[in-house]
Symmetry: C2
Subunit: 322 residues, 2 copies
DNA sequence: CGCGTTTACGTCGTTCGTAACGATA
DNA sequence: TATCGTTACGAACGACGTAAACGCG
C-alpha cells in the first residue's frame, strides 16, 4: 500500500470512475493509474471496483470502506505538508476559495491584496459553485475555504467562522421620482415596482421572497443576474429597482441613489467555512482575518487545529468598516 | 512523503530515538532509516529531531506534531489492511494479547483453541505487561487486545468490553484444621493467618488490601507470586492460606480445599480492551466471544468499527459457565 | 575504542511513459 | 470508429544493503 496508490484510487472515484480523466488530474498516465490500482487490489486481496469487461462500473462495498479511510489518510498527509509549510514559513502555496460573485468582486480583492504582501507567491483560485457542492468540495480537499452567506442558519459541512453581517440596499436611478424623495421605501412600495436582483431570489426559499410573502406580497422580479455589476447596469437603463448587497455599492455613484432596504428584508451573515480535520495554511487564516479583523488569531489557529470551536464573537456589520 | 518514511519515523520514536534499534524492529538497515528520515525532513523542510553531532537528541515540536498525524495515518493504513483481510476471509494473521498470567493460563487456552479452529494459521503472542503500559501499547499498534480486571473502575485507553465477573477464592490444605470445618471464613479470620496471593496485593491500592483496611485490619501477606500455580504450590507446602482467582482453581484438587472468599473481598470484572480507531481482525472479536459468549457479534463489530459504544450487557459471573 | 549516525557506492527492484491490444457503444 | 481499460516493453529513477568515515563518551 502506497500513498500514491491511495491518491490514485481517490482520484479515480472523484473522476466518476474514469481512469483517463483521473490520470490527467493527477498528472500521470492512464496505464500508470490502472497498474497501481491493480497492485493495490492484489495486495489487499480485495476488488475495489466492479468491472465490466473494459470499464469500471461501480465501487464495491469494500471499495467504499477503503475509500473513506484513504480520504482520511490523504487528508492527514496533506495536513502534515501544510503544517510543515507553515512551520518553515513557506511564502508560496495555493488557495482555492469557493464563493459568490459579490464576495469575489467586492470583499476579496482588498483582503487578498493584504495577504499577498506576506505571501507574494501565493496562487489563488476563486471558484463559484452551488451551496450544495461546497461541503463535498471542502471535504475532498479540492477547496481550502468557502465564503457563504445566510440570513437564517449558519452553514454546515466544515469549521464555520462568522465574518460579518450585511444588509441589502436599494438602487434607484437618480432621475427616478418614485422613491427619491419622502420616507424610506416599505415592502408594499417595493412590491409595486419591477425589481432587479440576484438569481438566488428566484428560489422560493430565498430570504428575499420570504420577506415579501410574510406580508402576503409577491415581488415582481423583472431581471436577475449573478453579478451586482450587471444588476447596476440594468437599473441604470431603467429596468427596475435594484436590490443588492451593501458591499457592492458606491455611495457616490453619479447615476444611482442608494437607499436602505426595508427592515423586513433580513440581515445576512457571511461565514467562512474551513474543511474539518485538515490543517489550514497560515495564509488561509490570514485571509479570514483580513476579511474580519475582529477575529482573534489564536482562536482561529486553535479552532483550525481541531480544538473545540470557541464561542465566536458576534460579527460586526459590514458598514462598521467604512 | 511515503508510508514507509512515516513508519520509520514512528519506529525511531518508539525505539527511544535509537535508529539502530528501530531498524531491527522494522527489518531494515540503519542507514536506510537514516536516509528516509533525511528525505522526509528535506521534503517537509522541517527538522523532526534535535540532533547532537552524531545522535538523535529529542523530537522537535514540529516532530511531535508530525508524529501524532503519522500515527493516525499508519493506524488507518493498518485498518485498511485488517479490513481487507477480514473481507477476503484470510485465515492467517497475528494477534498480540496483553494480559495477566491467570487469564493466559486459565481463560485464554480454551478460547484460543476455539478460534484456532477457524484461523488455523493464526499466530498468537501473549504478553504480560503492567497496567500502565497497556494504553500506550494498544495505541501504538503493538498490541491488538488487552484483558484487564478491576474491582472498581473499568479501564480506559481503548474500546472497553466487559467480559465476565469473577471472585476470589481461598485455598486451604485439606489437612489444615483451621478452616476446614465450621462457618465460612470471615475477614477477621483471614487477618490472623499468613496469606499467599498475587504480587498485585502488595500495592496499597489493591482491592484486597482495601478490603482489609476497611475493617481496620492489616493482612499478613507471607508469600506473593504472579502465578496461581506457584501460589498453590506454596499453599501445599504449608506457607499459608491461598487467595486466587476462581478461574485458577480445580474443585477436585486432591490436596487443596476451595472455599469462597468473604463477601467483603469484592468481585472483579474482566474487560477486553481494543485499540480505538483501528479495525480489528475478525479473530480478535471471535476471541472475545469465545471468552464471553453472551456478547452479540454485531454489537462487537459495530463498536469496533467506530460506532458509538452500545450499552454492554451485564457480564455474567465466571461460575455461570460451569 | 566501542557505539551510533552519517556519507559513499554499486546493485537491484520498481515505477514510469510509450505503444500496442481488446472490448464496448 | 472513437473511447476507455488492460497488457507489453524498455528506460530511468529510487531504495536498499554493504562498507567506510566521523564524533562522542
Amino acid at each position: 500500500m502506497t500513498l500514491t496508490q491511495l491518491r490514485y484510487f481517490v482520484a479515480i472515484v472523484d473522476a466518476g470512475l474514469n481512469i483517463t480523466l483521473a490520470a490527467e488530474r493527477v498528472h500521470a498516465t492512464q496505464p500508470g493509474l490502472s497498474r497501481q490500482i491493480k497492485h493495490l487490489e492484489d495486495e489487499l486481496g480485495v476488488k475495489l471496483f466492479n468491472r465490466g469487461q473494459r470499464s469500471l462500473d461501480a465501487l464495491t462495498p469494500a471499495g467504499r470502506e477503503v475509500l473513506a479511510r484513504a480520504r482520511r489518510i490523504l487528508a492527514e498527509a496533506d495536513s502534515i505538508r501544510a503544517f510543515a509549510a507553515n512551520e518553515r514559513g513557506a511564502i508560496d502555496g495555493r488557495l482555492t476559495v469557493l464563493t459568490t460573485h459579490t464576495q469575489a468582486r467586492y470583499v476579496l480583492p482588498e483582503a487578498l491584496a493584504a495577504i499577498k504582501r506576506d505571501w507574494p507567491l501565493l496562487s489563488v483560485q476563486i471558484e463559484s459553485v452551488g451551496d450544495e457542492e461546497i461541503g463535498g468540495r471542502l471535504e475532498r480537499g479540492i477547496a481550502d475555504l468557502a465564503l457563504v452567506s445566510s440570513a437564517t442558519h449558519p452553514p454546515t459541512g466544515g469549521l464555520v467562522v462568522p465574518l460579518f453581517r450585511w444588509r441589502r440596499v436599494l438602487l434607484i436611478r437618480r432621475d427616478d421620482s418614485r422613491f427619491a424623495v419622502g420616507l424610506p421605501p416599505r415592502m408594499t412600495d417595493l412590491a409595486r415596482h419591477p425589481l432587479v436582483t440576484y438569481e438566488s431570489a428566484l428560489r422560493p426559499e430565498s430570504s428575499l421572497r420570504r420577506a415579501f410573502s410574510a406580508f402576503g406580497l409577491e415581488p415582481d422580479i423583472a431581471v436577475t443576474a449573478r453579478d451586482a455589476d450587471l444588476i447596476k447596469t440594468y437599473v441604470r437603463v431603467g429596468l427596475g429597482i435594484g436590490i443588492v448587497a451593501e458591499m457592492a455599492v458606491d455611495p457616490d455613484d453619479p447615476e444611482l441613489i442608494v437607499l436602505p432596504a426595508p427592515p423586513e428584508i433580513p440581515e445576512c451573515t457571511a461565514y467562512g467555512v474551513l474543511p474539518e480535520q485538515r490543517v489550514a495554511r497560515d495564509y488561509t487564516l490570514a485571509l479570514l482575518r483580513a476579511i474580519a479583523p475582529h477575529l482573534d488569531r489564536h482562536d482561529l489557529r486553535r479552532a483550525a487545529s481541531g480544538a473545540a470551536q470557541p464561542r465566536w464573537p458576534e460579527p460586526p456589520p459590514w458598514s462598521a468598516r467604512l
